[in-house]
Symmetry: C3
Amino acid sequence: MGFLRNAWYPAAWDKDVTDGTVAIRIIDHPIVLFRDEQGQVKALFDACPHRFAPLSRGKVRDGRLVCGYHGLEFGGSGACLRNPHGKGAVSSALAVRSYPVAQRYGMLWVWMGEPAQAEETKLPVLPLFDEPDQTWVYGQLDVNANYELVIDNLLDLTHVEFLHPFLASPGNSERTTFRARQDGNQVNAFYDVVNEPITGLFRLLWEGAEDFANLKAYMHWQAPANLSLQTGMSLHETVQADDPRINIMHLLVPQSEDMTRYFWAAGRNKARESQEVSGMLHYGTQNAFVNEDEPMIAAVRSRMRSNDLLAHKPALLPIDEAAIRARRILKGMIDKEQHLLAD
Amino acid sequence: MGFLRNAWYPAAWDKDVTDGTVAIRIIDHPIVLFRDEQGQVKALFDACPHRFAPLSRGKVRDGRLVCGYHGLEFGGSGACLRNPHGKGAVSSALAVRSYPVAQRYGMLWVWMGEPAQAEETKLPVLPLFDEPDQTWVYGQLDVNANYELVIDNLLDLTHVEFLHPFLASPGNSERTTFRARQDGNQVNAFYDVVNEPITGLFRLLWEGAEDFANLKAYMHWQAPANLSLQTGMSLHETVQADDPRINIMHLLVPQSEDMTRYFWAAGRNKARESQEVSGMLHYGTQNAFVNEDEPMIAAVRSRMRSNDLLAHKPALLPIDEAAIRARRILKGMIDKEQHLLAD
Amino acid sequence: MGFLRNAWYPAAWDKDVTDGTVAIRIIDHPIVLFRDEQGQVKALFDACPHRFAPLSRGKVRDGRLVCGYHGLEFGGSGACLRNPHGKGAVSSALAVRSYPVAQRYGMLWVWMGEPAQAEETKLPVLPLFDEPDQTWVYGQLDVNANYELVIDNLLDLTHVEFLHPFLASPGNSERTTFRARQDGNQVNAFYDVVNEPITGLFRLLWEGAEDFANLKAYMHWQAPANLSLQTGMSLHETVQADDPRINIMHLLVPQSEDMTRYFWAAGRNKARESQEVSGMLHYGTQNAFVNEDEPMIAAVRSRMRSNDLLAHKPALLPIDEAAIRARRILKGMIDKEQHLLAD
């Protein structure tokens, strides 16, 4: 059904764009990121207009992107600033498409739609990223599947007991109370469990001698594919500010119909200075995504003839409510955008 | 031209289905095998009806197949027996297709056609497997080619001299008398050689001091793709009961148009207790199939634009008679079945 | 747009066809090379007419090519000379297509068009290969791209400064004077630089204490894809006979639309007896082609939807003149040939 175009898509962690190029495909556009002379990150179409060499194979010199094939130099606006050959003539045909870039939450976001509509007010609002008492670790991976299957996975956390033994205890599913709620175009999936064994993950942060506590895991989705998980364990009825809390952000970008780049960040409010806990949280999260989620999602894809899940008539369960709502909202937004484009 | 559907196809050696799942593709259906609480092997379509996760990625618990994604549990009939989430509602839409299974000759056979026609009387009859004086070794491999090219290979053993130096002596082909005979829907290819050097294979079993003996190799094919080879060497005109005899069974299953799973078993009536001979027979057979037959058959496939061999106008020789007969019989059976299905 | 058929294509270095078979694909024909009883190299279609086994998987015995599957034997004319089975009947249907072969410049050339037109006068004329004072090293590689992209690469040597740091000095491009000239159906690209730092490559041959000299690099292209580079450095205005001179021959053959075999030879007139210089020249050339040119050309291909470069509207520069001329000449020759074939 195509992709939503008028949206900010995550392209790279800001810290990962240093003095070279970073290449990524976003909704089937090859994109190269680099820093200009002011240190601002710029995004260009990743093919030289001369001979189509990927500009990401070149290098950055004095804030210009130098093509690695014949040395044409481009500025952040996409204009060709230098042709080192012959009389050095530079025509406007040598310009390459540029894409608006914004920075928020340590992430670089690229606007894939009409440049005139690229307003920063449209950037995703992810309050969990703003919590002042969190220490973060960051990662990324690629999933060999359509991004909607990754969203499905995240909006149905009942898979955790079965796919992630480190993150949930046996029998967790039947003890869980699940609610889904749509707030405008945001979809929320709430999982509450009373008196649950403290999981391996929370054991990293738990300071007391208890073996059981109440667990909550609240996942929030915004279009096209930004999700944030708020989770905590507490001896109280609701999780308190000084209870151990973990926030996991999932920023997804469809590279193509069948390949998704998955950026994640995990924050915690306990053991904040511990390099060991940072390392274990990074390892555990990356391991769960790469070795448990990704193979399962790719295997699901292998059983489908297309990415149109509903055409395959899945036997939906109540636990699918959040994921199905998100699919409908996204489809509505894409259909509307394509309708407008067709007018 | 499609596959024969109303047939028992080999799916796994019985000994290989233990306490986990075994996955195989049969005529393009993904199938999962597992044992129920009574130890009976069951075959289900290998995709959960909920979200299409391959059930073979799950585990078996108390004779039930537990989906590795969201924990739905299925019995041998394909019915969903438990939904661990929420109120645990289970609808009939959660059932997964089951396939009849039978056990014979140490092999598990799955019926891919109309379940009502899955009679055990239709199982292949392979008398060589019933000979009481044989000790067997077993193996399996995958061939990157259509199963009919593997049948061609087996029904034309004149390739042995050229492809398998351990199994035939130089000049064997011109000393060989070949006859083909069709008995009903069975095709037989008979190779007889008088006073042939004892081959490397038979040297493993030969007890005398002779260097030459009469060699026979009789291959039998039954649709869709079960072949049995009866071979022996003797100082007599015909092979006697106490001459060294080797039976090699070839049970093929088309996984897809271009991938064949090849189960084999090799039996012998001499050196029956020798672990060393068992090991050499297993190694030699597996090696010949994996390193000599498979690359050649896949290379043949690479020279064809499709799997329709006759459309490529091969220059057929008398040695092709058995293989061509088998192709015609199989095509006739498939055409007839598709005609009936279309009515 | 298809390939030029009536042409001699390079197939293998003569030294590389010894006592076995050599396989190559030429304009999508699989070809096998072998030596007959007189030691003459013969080229046959690389599929046995019986069952389509690649003949290159067989062996050569007494100047005959013996199929590795069922042992049919073929002579250099493609006729089947022996069927080792049964009565040994050999029909004319067993003949395999043969292709004219010629030897020149240490290369074996195969004629892919009408055999009647396979005249040796049509072999490429590459005078640099005939220079008497050159010692040669030889190599080959495969490029994952259409051969015209490889021609483009070679006819625009302005890429050298950016892609090959060993072969040019920084700033070389803006010091270079470039001229293109078409002589009949030959295209020439001339690069002259005055007072250039002696490159890493020429430092291998330079005998004086100077750091700067005049550099020339003249590339010549003939259809379909034979290129020769004449390069030298000199303290004089033009390169003299006893100045260090390097000739690099590039003989390309399209294996398929997206795969090119690239034969190269590099000759020098200095340090001719030095094994060390031979080794460095071989390593440096092979390394530049495999690790610098090939990945860039394949990356360019990945940015194109088809091999029709001009349909992608590249922003052409004056430096593209030679490559565009060659593309036009080649297209004209192919169009003319296809027009004649269609008549």
